[in-house]
């Protein structure tokens, strides 16, 4: 399903964070959203995921209009996200962090045990896949920054979203982990998940993205494959500074 926005606008007082953004991401691909700090990338994420309501414009996921819907509705529609300053549930164990993403689905189903064997297995599988299975019983607050980032992603994946928005996945992680995150994104993408990644690390962006959207002053100024973006005059001027 295609995630797209039409004329998205959001102002905070006099600061216009989004200024009529028309964006369309390619389904089944790794999309990147890049741009200078303050160009509206995170505000765009927050609008799309329902964390803040846009002043104008519309958000569509496939045919479904998600404009102004609550974040849990957006998540249930199949759009998962991570946060720029990675957010985990600090006083829960790693495995509980992942289990918390299981949808209760109705009042009676909500009273079912949160520790069903099949779901625990699924949670452990995600932790294994992300390489933090050995920390399953550790409280999330005791994990390192990089491990918390992986844990956050494991939680998002547990909800089985079709499209995943990653806000600066490479921020503050060591080179080995960065490599791992890049590989993971490609693997998860090859299984059919769409990614939209906000990232400043150009090496990562250029190596894993199929499609790049460049933001400046709250709207896209260019979109296309990495090789085209790398040489786009407007992008070079606005962002890459060469």
């Amino acid at each position: 399903m295609t995630l797209r926005t039409e004329g998205l606008r959001k102002a905070f007082g006099g600061v216009v964070a989004l200024d009529g953004a028309d964006v369309e991401f390619l389904p089944g691909k790794v999309n990147a959203l890049i741009g200078p700090n303050g160009s509206g990338k995170t505000t765009f994420f927050n609008c799309v995921t329902g964390m803040i309501k846009p002043d104008e414009g519309r958000i569509f996921f496939g045919e479904r209009d998600l404009t102004g819907r609550a974040p849990h509705v957006v998540a249930r529609a199949g759009v998962g996200r991570t946060f720029q300053l990675c957010r985990v549930f600090p006083r829960m164990t790693a495995v509980e962090n992942v289990l918390a993403a299981v949808r209760p689905g109705g009042l009676l189903r909500g009273l079912r045990s949160a520790h069903r064997r099949s779901e625990i297995e699924r949670a452990h599988n995600w932790l294994t896949r992300l390489g933090i299975e050995h920390l399953a019983e550790a409280e999330a607050r005791n994990l390192s920054w990089g491990q918390q980032k992986l844990l956050e992603l494991a939680g998002v994946l547990m909800g089985e979203p079709q499209t995943i928005l990653l806000d600066e996945p490479a921020g503050g992680v060591n080179p080995a982990l960065l490599d791992r995150i890049g590989t993971l994104v490609r693997e998860l993408n090859s299984e059919g998940r769409t990614f939209v990644i906000v990232e400043h690390n150009m090496d990562l962006v250029m190596s894993i993205s199929d499609h790049i959207v460049v933001f400046d002053r709250g709207r896209p100024i260019a979109a296309g494959p990495p090789e085209r973006i790398r040489t786009d005059e407007r992008v070079l001027g606005a962002y890459l500074g060469v």
């Binding site: 995921t49 974040p71 045990s113 452990h124 019983e137």
Partner: protein
């Protein structure tokens, strides 16, 4: 028919001697560290080869502890009335159980979602007045009135929660205090219905019953209600719904972004909490027989409840109960020792300060953590993956593919 108002009026005034809390009033089970969040996951065999620097399990499953503690609690409730040396001690037991139900009911909101309500005293007061008015003015049978009143308060909790749960943190605390103050004014001023400052006399459910027997019956009723509240809390704690509530406590926005309808969850648990609180308030009305708005709608009630829950540990099933035993008995003791002076407020204030400073998680989690530390002496590490680890892992994966 015994006069309702003299039945169990301030017990301290009834029998000042022998007021010190007896060991019998403090069942030993309460000090047991009950299992924190059950983590059956620990029993799951890991499918992955242990990663370098693998840590041993940080928590051990301790599902039997809550069961053992519950069994001890049931025994304690059954034998306490026989062991109580006099009716005053028995009436203190009723008061302490009343606090235990209130604190456990509060913990549905405070413990699961982390929303600190100082307004639960008002919900208890509403339960008390609703029960009293249904019995006194509508001639409803006492225990039918108790249940109807709890349902009415639960229904009223929907609009209250709808308004109050829109704000978080300190703002929520202030809104909850406002609820108490508004209801105090209403119940004081609306004297044609509530009796105003003159109070409301609630007819007794068992008119011919002698006072010690009356205390004994209500001790068991409160005991049953406490067990029901604990069972409900335990069931929620294990459920997906409970997992969502705990996620709200940890990070509400994050929980919402993972698909938890946070507002609906908060409202539901607030209504459950209000129903149990109203049942406790209603039982109090039937037991005590006399309601005064100043005591029913007091911010102090909510403050004591919070102190009890914090002292015992809000993330724990038995935390509020333990807190109620300590603070409830202490309050009675202070009243006997210091009479009506404000010294009992000073001492409880000091206690609250000490708890927040030195045991912010409460007694039970602190003890549990201590036991865990003593048990898990093996070194553990959270070292991140290195380039060498990664190369080794890839090599193994490659070998797996080739073979």
């Amino acid at each position: 028919m015994p006069n309702a108002s003299d039945a169990a009026s301030t017990p301290a005034a009834e029998q000042p001697s022998g007021a010190a809390p007896t060991p019998a009033a403090q069942p030993s089970h309460a000090a047991l560290p009950s299992g924190a969040a059950p983590t059956p996951a620990a029993a799951q065999p890991s499918e992955a080869a242990p990663a370098p620097g693998a840590a041993s399990s940080f928590r051990t499953p301790s599902n039997w502890l809550p069961l053992g503690a519950a069994a001890l609690l049931i025994v304690a409730i059954l034998v306490f009335p026989s062991l109580a040396p006099n009716p005053y001690i028995l009436s203190t037991g009723v008061i302490v159980l009343n606090w235990a139900v209130l604190a456990t009911a509060w913990n549905f909101v405070g413990g699961f979602t982390g929303y600190i309500s100082l307004g639960h005293g008002a919900l208890a007061g509403l339960g008390g007045y609703a029960t009293g008015l249904l019995v006194a003015k509508a001639d409803m049978p006492s225990f039918v009135a108790l249940v109807v009143a709890a349902l009415l308060v639960a229904a009223l909790a929907i609009p209250i929660g709808f308004a109050a749960l829109r704000v978080r943190g300190a703002s929520f605390v202030i809104v909850s205090i406002a609820l108490v103050l508004i209801l105090l004014l209403v119940f004081q001023s609306w004297s044609s219905v509530t009796g105003g400052s003159r109070g409301l006399v609630v007819p007794r459910p068992f008119p011919g019953m002698l006072r010690p027997e009356h205390h004994r019956v209500f001790f068991f009723l409160y005991g049953g209600l406490l067990l029901l509240a604990l069972l409900t809390w335990w069931l929620l704690d294990r459920s997906r719904f409970g997992m969502g509530l705990k996620a709200i406590r940890e990070d509400e926005d994050k929980a919402e972004s993972l698909g938890t309808p946070t507002f609906a969850y908060k409202l539901t648990v607030f209504v459950i909490s209000a129903a149990f609180t109203a049942l406790a308030g209603g039982l109090y009305a039937l037991w005590f027989g006399d309601l005064d708005p100043v005591f029913q709608f007091s911010v102090l009630t909510g403050s004591y409840i919070v102190l009890m829950a914090l002292l015992g540990g809000v993330r724990n099933l038995f935390g509020p109960l333990l807190g109620a035993l300590v603070v409830g008995i202490a309050l009675e003791y202070f009243k006997v020792e210091f009479g009506n002076s404000p010294l009992h407020l000073v001492t409880t204030g000091l206690l609250l300060g000490l708890v927040v400073m030195f045991m912010p998680d409460g007694v039970i989690p602190s003890l549990t953590a201590l036991v865990q530390r003593l048990r898990n002496r093996e070194a553990s590490s959270i070292r991140e993956v290195t380039a060498a680890d990664l190369a080794e892992q890839r090599r193994r994966e490659q070998e797996g593919v080739n073979s």
